[in-house]
Amino acid sequence: MTKATDIVGAADHGHDEHHEHHIPKGITRWLFTTNHKDIGTLYLWFAFIMFLVGGAMAMVIRAELFQPGLQIVDPNFFNQMTTVHGLIMVFGAVMPAFTGLANWLVPMMIGAPDMALPRMNNWSFWILPFAFLILLSSLFMEGGGPAFGWTFYAPLSTTYSSDSTGLFVFSVHIMGISSIMGAINVIVTIFNMRAPGMTWMKMPLFVWTWLITAFLLIAVMPVLAGAVTMVLTDKFFGTSFFDAAGGGDPVMFQHIFWFFGHPEVYIMILPAFGIISQIIPTFSRKKLFGYASMVYATASIALLSFIVWAHHMFTTGMPVFAEMFFMFATMLISVPTGVKVFNWVATMWRGSMSFEVPMLFAIAFIVLFTIGGLSGLMLAITPVDFQYHDTYFVVAHFHYVLVTGAVFSIMAAVYYWLPKWTGRMFDTGLAKWHFWCSLVSVNVLFFPMHFVGLAGMPRRIPDYSLQFADFNKWISIGGFAFGLSQLIFLVVVIKACRKQGEKVSDQVWEGADGLEWEIPSPAPYHTFETPPVVK
């Protein structure tokens, strides 16, 4: 008994020595850190760098498509650009950005001192840069990098791919391990480390959506790992999972891939729903409408995401009843998604709104994400999907939900919590420039893609017939403008990190509500070492 007390005492003592002024300095701070805020920062910077790298590849694509004919790159390199752009944006930009936000915010929102598994947290971040170094280095190998689309359909990715496919497979494995570890950490933290009184139905929606996302990650990342492993053995070790000549089936690859791929889509949008559900009430100065229905809607979307995968495969030649099943199941998803949008609008209704930068991004999210959602509903209708499938209409659809959806929500989140992280208000004038430039250019970029898609332009082509020339010019101009606009974002964030700007209060925003707004700004290195009591 005395011994136990001693240990507790010793721990207390050791803790005193590591007080807030004693933050490790230099590169080792970042390499060895187990602090959720440091790791969150690492994830967010990594995601931003990857966003710029993936964006640079999109600029190459748009430059080649600026006018008909081949001008800048050869078709093989063009295919590598579309492939690596997709992989980097999905696995390198959007997913790490959400994990970074979860690291920063989940402990602060539930009143926990840190993530439950801090060393694993360090590990799950630090393997990521290696994954992307491997992926990017494959571009410089003989034969070039992956050129089979981010969906790597067999047999294009097996028999007909370059030898660097092995590197691609290895990097996807590392990304998957990183995601699974991150997800385990989120789940264990939320289950075990909530402050007294923080019951399930009191958790902020960002925490709820991330909890559900983490379960999706654990369910489907192993499926992706299985798919890439089968590609690896088909290509290098003579198996025939996806080769009809050996008894396999190339369409089976697509079933496995999309069984991962569709929940993956929701992995990239559910945390965004959480962010928007935090921001809209703050700047409407009114409680979120329909909290419980938001939670249930999120859970239903997650469950439905497991039974809709084949809507990506309507043209592969399925039995007509399978096509109908997947059509109806897909249409059903619009019900809980609609509930969310209605709830946000009802939260704004008869509120007392102001339009600070996070709110601007949140409102743009609702409008533009809904446009993407509605085109998604159109895509669900199988007979019409036969016309839309693999055209720019699909490209427009998923960029509306992923760029003006997921990416805009991440930007909204950064602007919303940045003052809490740095203790200073960012340059709001510059941030508004960032918003308006992004809003206009992103629509010039993606809206005309609906038209060229309906008019019949297939996706993933380096050259096109003359009827599409005018629109593609505008799309490219929008693309360059959107790319450049993100440099404004970079400047705003760097200025804020350099502690420029006015000091902010603990609450930061007038209507903000939640545990993270009760701690000092900037958030101290260690928070909630003694748990708060939630009333």
Partner: protein, 386 residues
């Protein structure tokens, strides 16, 4: 005041986005060619177009209602206008309503969609069957009811793609030998592939079906009006995915029958010619000229016009032992292909003379000066195993 102007700007800009979307709606009512889906030339494609417009209109109405409510709220319930926040945060009746009403709308959409889908997938009782085979990067058509079969390749000149010549009207949408089908007949397509997955898509027929290697998919069409209809491969299939268009000519049944008789005749005479050539010896000059033509049309996509290939993807022929050494091994790989690689069996695509010419060309071009001259009978010997 500044607050007010800024929030008015917000509302205006958001409205601009919706107007942008409704501009699209206006365009579509005029059936405005380059902006919207085509109505197409079959009953099915017409139904698909109507479904598309129905879905689109419903989506526009939903968007107008939801965004409308939002913009009104953004205008009226602003802090700068002195709005005080209300206290409500749930309402069971409203929440049930906006779960049930969308569900009913979905049922309204699902019924016509299912009907059209069932009609589209009914490939029974065709008048005519054509096998469509995709391969990197061309289509092969085989009329199952006769002996006629041929490849269909991109006809746009490389110089147009490289911006050396000005681009023609049907740039990238023209082929050397289009598929020809009769109007008013139910034509069934059996779609498959020799290598990777391709997708055979003709927008005017609302037919898009993947060509999966080792499996056969079915689709059908019944074209109402004679004409030329153009499409493209819709599934990423490697380097030249953007360069394998589809052209279908629909002819009146009588014209179609005449065309078919002519094709059968041409195909028969080609076979006779092949036999005659077996006994002949061609000159080096002629074989090099023919060989260069065949090479640029068939081989250059992978092995490149310079014969240098793409390192790590497609092997070089310039200075390659395969090309410089054993002639029969060289003929064999061209004729039978190489399993497990992108090298196809060209025996069924090219004539004996074409293969002889292209092998001769490869053995003498780009400094591969072997001096070897290959004759059709040499190819025939390899092909028949003698």
């Amino acid at each position: 005041m500044k607050r007010l102007t800024s929030s008015v700007t917000v509302v205006l800009a958001m409205l601009a986005t919706s107007i942008f979307s409704s501009a699209f709606a206006v365009q579509t009512t005029e059936d405005g060619g380059a902006l919207n889906l085509r109505r197409g030339v079959t009953d099915i494609s017409g139904q698909v177009y109507d479904l598309h417009m129905l879905m689109f209109s419903i989506c526009v109405v939903i968007a107008v209602v939801v965004f409308g409510a939002m913009f009104i709220s953004m205008y009226l319930h602003r802090k700068s206008r002195g709005a005080k926040p209300a206290n409500f945060h749930e309402n069971v009746k409203v929440e049930i309503a906006w779960t049930v009403v969308p569900f009913l709308i979905l049922i309204f959409m699902a019924v016509p969609a299912a009907k059209t889908l069932i009609a589209m997938e009914d490939t029974t009782q065709p008048d005519l069957t054509v096998q469509v085979t995709g391969s990197q990067w061309k289509w092969h058509y085989k009329y199952m009811d006769s002996d006629v079969e041929y490849y269909s390749l991109l006809a746009t000149q490389q110089e147009q793609i490289a911006n050396k010549f000005s681009k023609g009207e049907n740039y990238l949408l023209e082929v050397d030998r289009p598929l020809v089908i009769p109007t008013g007949k139910k034509v069934r397509f059996l779609i498959t592939s020799d290598d990777v997955i391709h997708s055979w898509w003709v927008p005017d027929f609302a037919v898009k079906k993947d060509a999966n290697p080792g499996f056969i998919n079915e689709a059908w069409t019944k074209v109402n009006e004679p004409g030329v209809y153009r499409g493209q491969c819709a599934e990423l299939c490697g380097k030249d995915h953007g360069f394998m268009p589809i052209v279908v000519i629909a002819k009146e049944p009588a014209e179609y029958d005449a065309w078919m008789a002519e094709q059968e005749d041409i195909q028969r005479r080609a076979k006779e010619e092949e036999q005659r050539l077996l006994a002949m010896n061609m000159s080096m000059e002629e074989m090099m000229r023919e060989g260069e033509r065949v090479y640029n049309a068939t081989c250059a996509a992978c092995h490149m016009p310079s014969g240098e290939g793409l390192p790590g993807v497609f092997p070089a022929l310039k200075g390659s032992p395969m090309v410089l050494q054993d002639i029969n091994a060289h003929i064999d790989i061209v004729y039978n292909g190489k399993a497990g690689t992108a090298m196809q069996a060209f025996g069924k695509m090219l004539s004996l003379k074409d293969i002889a010419a292209v092998v001769t060309y490869e053995r003498n071009a780009w400094g591969n000066n072997t001096g070897d001259l290959v004759q059709p009978k040499d190819v025939n010997a390899v092909a028949t195993g003698n």
